[in-house]
Subunit: 414 residues, 2 copies
């Protein structure tokens, strides 16, 4: 990582020579907005609207029910999964797009419990993304002999005992962006007979992931963050090919049947990754996700990684240079290999500061208790954007504008 401060003119010069410059035109961000929340919800690719319009008018409207065959809707979960696979170092037949991350966590946690003697421990980390923790507890409340053990990060290794069935971890932490060593942890877990279920929600589209090289057994991830699949886009689910024949989903819906349209009374799981499908997939959301993934498939991912590092470093350096002394504390690791593609600061007045930023069109987000998050997304962000975002933050701090923001609304999405 190279720290770098620059003038607006320099930032613009970097934008001028940005090899990914053309991809910014593939998104339609509103005028006056600098969008630094792609870690929460990616913006729509320009192709999403026309794509859905065609799906609704032609496939649904003209093809009607025939489109399950004629437009290959029936193949969409595997097809989209196969495309996502190429972004995370998996084989095409190891990934499906299905359900939500939460539902997929349940499927895989429960599947991994089969044949294990009690106590069957789900080991996880305190402060993990809540839905991961909640589902772990939901599995424990549902299956006999399952125990959840949530430990501090530095206790994970020591807690990998023989009773651990599954280690459930985010690859990149949703608050701090801290990135875990996927290969090393996977190997350590395997040494005690456990599998790791990796949550890639803040990794896919954010950092290079190589599930195959890392020897990963199971993973889930989110379609609507860095992948830009649309609000609540279907999630994805990975099971290594070698494990597919032995793992069974508890959610034995008809789309996971070996022959759904035989309408047989008895359940027989599909032989491959399709056994982890459950009900009929939400096709409009799924095909919007596909449009977004198709754009990802055009991208030089090395260029993305390079630009992500430069954007991130620029942000960090500008924050030091322009907002130093304002009590922002960087809580993300600085080293590229140790973090994801957002940058997080703590600040005692974080909530109000973020509201003031958003009011100025610089959209990041806030996480309890005091964290400001900014997503670094090379496909649609430029160097000037980052430069201006920090400048806006500086103005808010110097002017005290943040003190005039409305108080927090209970239950509101942050």
């Amino acid at each position: 990582m190279t720290a770098v401060t620059m003038t607006l003119a320099q930032a613009r010069a970097w934008d001028d020579t940005d090899p990914l410059r053309s991809f910014r035109d593939r998104f339609a961000l509103p005028a006056g907005v600098i969008y630094l929340d792609g870690n929460s919800l990616g913006p729509p690719p320009r192709s999403a609207g026309p794509s859905l319009d065609r799906v609704i008018r032609v496939e649904w409207g003209q093809g009607l029910v025939r489109s399950w065959n004629d437009a290959n809707w029936i193949g969409a979960p595997a097809r989209v999964g196969g495309k996502i696979a190429s972004l995370i170092g998996a084989a095409a037949d190891e990934v499906v797009a299905a359900d939500s991350t939460s539902v997929n966590i349940f499927k895989l946690l429960a599947a991994a419990m089969a044949g294990r003697p009690a106590p069957r421990v789900i080991l996880t980390a305190k402060g993990e993304f809540p839905t991961d923790l909640y589902l772990a507890h939901g599995v424990a409340a549902t299956l006999p002999g399952v125990v959840v053990r949530a430990v501090e990060d530095d206790e994970i290794e020591a807690s990998l005992t023989a009773d651990v069935a599954v280690l459930l971890l985010s690859h990149v932490h949703y608050k701090t962006a801290a990135r875990r060593d996927m290969a090393a942890i996977t190997q350590r877990a395997r040494a005690v007979g456990a599998v790791v279920l990796w949550d890639l929600s803040h990794s896919a589209g954010a950092v290079e992931v190589d599930l195959t090289a890392s020897g990963v057994d199971m993973a889930v991830g989110c379609g609507y963050k860095f992948l830009n699949g649309g609000p609540g886009a279907p999630a994805f689910l990975f099971v290594a090919r070698r494990l597919q024949p032995t793992l069974r989903s508890p959610l034995t819906g008809w789309m996971g049947h070996v022959d759904p349209f035989a309408f047989r009374d008895d359940y027989e799981a599909a032989s491959g990754i399709a056994r982890f499908l459950c009900g009929t997939p939400p096709m409009l959301s799924l095909l919007a996700l596909e449009a977004a993934i198709d754009l990802w498939l055009e991208v030089d991912r090395q260029a993305v990684a390079q630009k992500a590092e430069r954007l991130w470093s620029l942000m960090a350096a500008q924050m030091e240079a322009r907002c130093g002394g304002q009590d922002f504390k960087l809580i993300s690791p600085r080293e590229t290999a140790l973090r994801g593609s957002h940058i997080a600061y703590s600040h005692a007045n974080g909530f109000q500061i973020m509201q003031a930023l958003i009011a100025r069109g610089v959209i990041g987000d806030f996480r309890d208790p005091d964290i400001l998050r900014f997503g670094i997304t090379p496909l649609y962000l430029g160097y000037e954007d980052v430069w201006r975002a920090v400048e806006a933050l500086r103005e808010i701090m110097l002017s005290g504008d943040w003190r005039r923001t409305p108080p927090r609304v209970a239950g509101a999405v942050t």
Copy 2:
């Protein structure tokens, strides 16, 4: 039911005075198509395209992550659920739109098992819609002491013994359209301490349903059939208010948390129906469903029921009059109160006949082993449509055209 045959001119005359005539213009069916498969996938309301276009351009594209609050995406599952509630005789706070029918069946079956001593029996009927049976077996494979007992229809009553925790039944059968007596069966189940989980997939939007008057405890249903919510539209889930505090979903995702955006480590279920939400909802699919439901809310449902009966009777009478002697056997009950809103025939050459019909633009569907299904959907079907559909079938039979259809493709959606 009054059987009635008529000439084309008479059918047209009925269309001319159809009080629901204007609703047919709210759908954009392709020219030359008579769509009799709304029991499988409803066609798009004309409002669906513009609605999704606005959602993508304005809410997602301009509002970005702010739309969770500003466009009230966060309230969509409860809001759409509340609208569906009004179509099935439920209170607004007893229904949410969420996940798939399959996933919702799992949630409610598992929830209903809590606190029951083994054996905990899921009683159901042979030949039920497969995903219902599959999920029952999935729950039995996942939870200890759960047993699935699938019996013939006429054995259900005698099989309601004290060890039955849940009786899982479709209200309207997906093949025959036979409708069960919801109130009577619910009461009988309750008498032995069981609850009924009703699957309304072929009822909602097809027949009048009054969950409250029928004393129903739990129900699920499909958004993409008679409700016209789009391919794979989110499903819905009903839990009577009195049961909500005691039932807990096994799928404890963050959207079912009492305060998801507090991002707490510990799971605390929301107090009402929201506890049955799991992950982030597929918003594009959910808002397409809402557009379809909004159309339903404009409809005089008594007029729908009346027209459905007349269309159904016309179909049955024309089949007798025009296709009598062609070995079609009506397998749906004739009496309105005993059936749903599709009509089914068995025929030894059913698959090929249906293919020939579809090739002529008359779209119904085929179900193993020999069943032709035709959906009767008053919102977009006219009397002339039904008249012409039977006429096309007659021509196919007389000409022997059906013999020239391609053979069945393995794995294809029927």
